[in-house]
């Protein structure tokens, strides 16, 4: 089935989107799966000429938001416990690797402490690496709003980080 190839291409990104939007990791796969089925059913309404990726990701994001609201809880992003450490001269010392990991934990916790609106715009731009235009489609807001919302969200992230770093 040709559609399976599209699913294969976007599966990882769809799951990442669901997690970034706030679905629990054990629900993110289900949210992505439902989104792909819904996208298939809606293909006829897909506007030819439009970009497929942000259209799909918006369906994923809606699924993830609905699931999170139903669950009545918000989930936190979690870092992998084991760090992939490069070998060779560029490899950080064990002490530096631990410090780097702790730094990332502080950042992840601060991100999780933000309100949804802030976390989602930061997630779209930096964790999913979407363009401003794609982020706008994903979040359902004008492109100009992405820039202003991102600026405010980074400001609030700094406030949370400052508390953690005191």
């Amino acid at each position: 089935m040709a559609y399976e190839t599209l699913v294969r291409r976007y599966a990882d990104l769809a799951i990442r989107t669901a997690v970034v939007v706030g679905a629990a990791p054990d629900e993110a796969e289900d949210a992505a799966q439902d989104a792909f089925v819904k996208a298939y059913a809606a293909l006829a309404r897909f506007r030819p000429g439009a970009a497929f990726r942000p259209w799909l990701l918006r369906i994923v994001a809606n699924e993830a938001r609905n699931r999170r609201r139903s669950a009545g809880r918000r989930t936190s992003l979690a870092l992998r416990a084991a760090e992939d450490r490069p070998s060779g001269d560029a490899a950080p010392s064990p002490e530096q690797a631990v410090l780097d990991h702790e730094r990332r934990l502080v950042l992840t916790d601060a991100l999780a402490a933000l309100r949804d609106e802030d976390r989602q715009v930061i997630g779209a731009r930096y964790l999913l690496d979407l363009s401003e235009a794609e982020s706008a489609l994903l979040l359902g807001i004008p492109r100009g709003t992405v820039k202003s919302r991102l600026s405010r969200a980074l400001g609030r992230l700094r406030v949370v980080l400052a508390e953690a770093e005191r």
Binding site: T5, V7, F36, A41, P48, F52, S70, A78, L79, S151
Partner: protein
């Protein structure tokens, strides 16, 4: 003097780089087997659930309960008053005729450009527009021109009618697009699952089943897509006289070959 490396002291660019640094280290479900599970659900004919009400109820139970009570009262009043009721500036009728399909001009919803006359379209592709010998395909319901594609892409659109393939939700039964490749312009049909086949006698052609993406590249040493279309219908594509033709519709392979070979320059 040591630079302040505290995260809270970073500017937007540096903080963004730190955030990108955690992207690949987040715990993510593997997604193994997801494509196969999606396919199985689609093949089984599963219709997606409409969860909006369930989710909405979970969100705002009290507000929705009030709305439901108001709606129930309005419906009760409608029954009492014989199917019609009114509020200032608002009338609700219970029952009534089913709305007809959207009466938009053929092809407009496909984003294939604007309508043009046949002479203009023929001048763009440099050839007369093709005619089908199939009795169900008379003159197209619309001729559209999309100037975003190379030197211009012409689309002939047929709406629903007896004997034609089943229309899509926009009321479109068949679309025949054509454009003249020039310079480094090229059309790449993103064939998937090995479903590229030579099918039309007298020239190479390919038939693709199921949804697929089409990338249209602009000129340049490193071509980048200038348009990506997702096509839900089956497609047969072929080239003749320097023109690339694509016929889209709910067509079986045999029907696609028969219709593709029915076209001759008019």
């Amino acid at each position: 003097m040591t630079a302040d490396r505290r995260l809270s002291a970073l500017d937007d660019e540096a903080l963004g780089a730190e955030l990108r640094g955690i992207a690949d280290r987040l715990v993510m479900p593997s997604g193994a087997g997801l494509p196969e599970r999606v396919t199985a659900r689609i093949v089984a004919g599963e219709r997606p659930r409409t969860d909006a009400w369930r989710h909405a109820l979970a969100r705002r139970p009290v507000r929705l309960a009030v709305l439901a009570a108001i709606l129930a009262l309005l419906l009760l009043a409608a029954v009492v008053t014989g199917g019609r009721l009114g509020l200032p500036g608002l009338e609700i009728s219970v029952g009534g005729p089913t709305p007809s399909a959207a009466a938009t001009p053929a092809g407009v919803a496909l984003d294939l450009g604007g309508p043009v006359d046949e002479a203009t379209a023929a001048s763009v592709i440099g050839r007369p527009l093709p005619r089908s010998s199939d009795p169900t395909l008379g003159p197209p319901d619309a001729i559209l021109l999309d100037r975003r594609v190379g030197a211009g892409q012409v689309a002939m659109v047929w709406g629903a009618a007896g004997g034609r393939p089943s229309p899509d939700p926009t009321g479109t039964s068949l679309v025949l697009t054509m454009f003249r490749a020039a310079g480094s312009d090229q059309l790449e049909l993103k064939a998937v699952d090995g479903q590229v086949e030579d099918v039309v006698a007298g020239g190479p052609a390919i038939f693709i089943r199921d949804p697929h993406e089409i990338f249209i590249f602009g000129p340049g040493v490193e071509p980048s897509p200038i348009a990506v279309r997702l096509v839900g219908a089956n497609v047969i594509a072929w080239r003749a006289n320097g023109i690339t033709y694509r016929l889209e519709g709910a067509l079986t392979r045999a029907e696609a070959i028969r219709l593709a070979t029915s076209f001759r320059e008019g």
